[in-house]
Symmetry: C2
Subunit: 175 residues, 2 copies
Amino acid sequence: MNFCNQCGARVELRIPPGDLIARHVCDACGHIHYQNPKLVLGSIPEWEGRLLLCRRAIEPRYGYWTLPAGFMENDETVAEAALRETQEEAGARVELGAVFSMISVPRVNQVHVFYLARLGALEFQPGEETLEVRLFDEGAIPWEQVAFRTVAATLRHWFADRGKGSFGFHAEDIR
Amino acid sequence: MNFCNQCGARVELRIPPGDLIARHVCDACGHIHYQNPKLVLGSIPEWEGRLLLCRRAIEPRYGYWTLPAGFMENDETVAEAALRETQEEAGARVELGAVFSMISVPRVNQVHVFYLARLGALEFQPGEETLEVRLFDEGAIPWEQVAFRTVAATLRHWFADRGKGSFGFHAEDIR
């Protein structure tokens, strides 16, 4: 960040009075530009024991497999974000269950949250950011080609919990 | 937002190609400025059945009572943010338990997350943004003077769950 988005003057990176963290501060208009982590919301769409994965048509991780997920937008709830991303990326309507995983990734300033979900019908199709959408049995999950560690962790927890017969809530960090 | 924080040129609010939402776009350098919801992290510090609340020394809701909580920062995890805010606002060290509530507030583009927590010792003191810190029995909670609806909802769930003898996870929205 080089310029103030309020007044256009140059900003300076320093610790404001009463703060502990360096911020981009504008001396012309006084605005302090805070930067905070972003939420990524997604779902784990299930159909008769199989899970729906999307093969990415964009970077990062072009060609790798992921759960439908993306950045939460302003003016929506976490559940609305998960439903929207599932519709946009997988062309799928799901019924959301409980929140299943919440994974902090401080290296990229993100928190990833995934909902349990059931496909409403055997209908799905790749959206603009997706090459291919497919249902996978546990044995067919392309573990070596899963796009993100948060997705791999969420899938592992899902199959482990299914094995136990009970789905919990999983909060963890990826360093 | 009026100016590009990368190059200082004026930005325009419009829907970029392939997008569905209006963004602040810079025609000079091509940068698209996304704005996303912020995470607010806090804890529910408990000591022998009583909960620790902070009376706010800042706006909004100056003088009202709240759980220790604040904006998650870059380079930290959700748990680290909850611990830091509890230390900063209440001068208290806690041991975090499970994530207890996750409440979307789309009107202000925030998601509030609270952890179960135990005070490590009977030690707390107001930080710079706090007038007073005090432990409350259920009967003494100043419900009419609770600062935020997410805090009131979290407190109600906490006492209800304690009554049932089991603490769950509560995801909801406040419109």
